[in-house]
Amino acid sequence: MIFNTGAALLDAIVLAVVSRTVKGTYGYKITQDVRGAIEVSESTLYPVLRRLLKEDCLEVYDLAIDGRNRRYYRITEKGRTQLNLYRSEWAIYSGKISHILEELTDEQ
């Protein structure tokens, strides 16, 4: 991909990925899912998740899996509000970009 992904868009993608399961999801899975959409390095998401936690957009809880704790991330109410804002903004933004990039020869 040759277009830059801004911090806000990355936040939106992470929030969207986490919001897909009610139970929440864990670091490795979030990274792999995000990598399905954009190219991020495996080390990228810790600072992002931490920031979203600090902003109360995400919450964490530990769940014992195979005899050890796995840290799950779950979206909060505030996070959901934020995600909806991102969604509507993205719809407008991507719509405009798509519109302008479409090959329109005669503009009437």
């Binding site: 991909m1 040759i2 277009f3 830059n4 992904t5 801004g6 911090a7 868009l9 990355l10 864990y26 670091g27 490795y28 899975k29 990274t31 954009i38 190219e39 991020v40 390095s41 495996e42 080390s43 990228t44 810790y46 600072p47 998740l49 931490r50 920031r51 796995r70 840290r71």
Partner: protein, 251 residues
């Protein structure tokens, strides 16, 4: 390096940050590598190095990540996390990609800068008073050395100096004495001629000879005081001066 060693290194590098923050961050990356399972090796390669991970955690704690990093098409990028051998693929789809990466351009710029710098060759900042003071300090500090080991040399120098002083005094005194003695002999000779003409004439002649010697001595003195001594003083002064300003003058 296996994932355990990797994370131990990260933990060690973060020894000084608050315990809770460190535990959180280390747990995240440790879990990540464990979840990765077979892909842990690839994930570690992507992590770069324990140092890189540690600096990401550290900068995030300091709140520096908001301004510093950028999410680009190549993932998260931050100059500070780029290791010397951190490869960034050239973008062959864009014009600038074909002319060598940013890295190379920066290196060229750097080489250019250093070349220019060498060409300009800024003069070294020196100060004469400071140099003189430093020399005086050096002489005093090193006194025990040159007083001891250089004692003989000092003695020889002092002896030579005394000899020179002796010659200076002797030459002056001799000239004056010869002239006075010659004049005296001439006067005595003329007076004596009245009574004993032959003896008086002899005395007068001797006086003339002594005056002649005195004049010779005077000429020698003029040569010595007028030329040799100024030359020696100049040599000594230049020698000391050269010792102090030597480097700057040699240019």
């Amino acid at each position: 390096m296996n994932s355990n060693e990797f994370m131990e290194r990260v933990e060690y590098l973060l020894s000084d940050i608050p315990q809770e923050e460190k535990a959180d961050a280390v747990a995240y990356y440790r879990d990540y590598l464990e979840e990765a399972g077979e892909n842990a090796k690839k994930a570690m390669e992507d992590f770069g190095s324990p140092e890189r991970i540690a600096s990401i955690i550290r900068l995030e704690l300091a709140g520096n990540l908001k301004e510093g990093g950028e999410f680009t098409e190549r993932g998260y990028e931050d100059e500070r996390f780029r290791e010397p051998n951190y490869q960034v693929a050239n973008r062959l789809d864009l014009p600038e990609g074909r002319e060598g990466g940013e890295e190379e351009k920066r290196e060229n710029a750097w080489q250019q800068a250093s070349y220019n710098g060498e060409k300009a060759k800024q003069p070294v900042r020196t100060s004469r008073p400071l140099k003189i003071i430093l020399w005086i300090v050096l002489i005093f500090v090193s006194a025990p050395i040159w007083l001891g080991a250089g004692g003989l040399l000092t003695g020889i120098l002092a002896g030579g100096f005394a000899l020179l002083l002796g010659i200076i005094v002797f030459l002056g005194v001799m000239t004056v004495a010869l002239l006075l003695a010659g004049a005296g002999l001439c006067v005595v000779g003329i007076l004596a001629m009245v009574r004993w003409f032959a003896s008086g004439l002899l005395l007068f002649g001797a006086g003339v000879v002594v005056i002649g010697l005195g004049v010779l001595s005077l000429l020698l003195s003029i040569l010595f005081y007028g030329k040799l001594i100024p030359w020696m003083v100049r040599s000594i002064v230049n020698g000391i001066g050269g010792l102090i300003y030597g480097r700057s003058k040699r240019k």
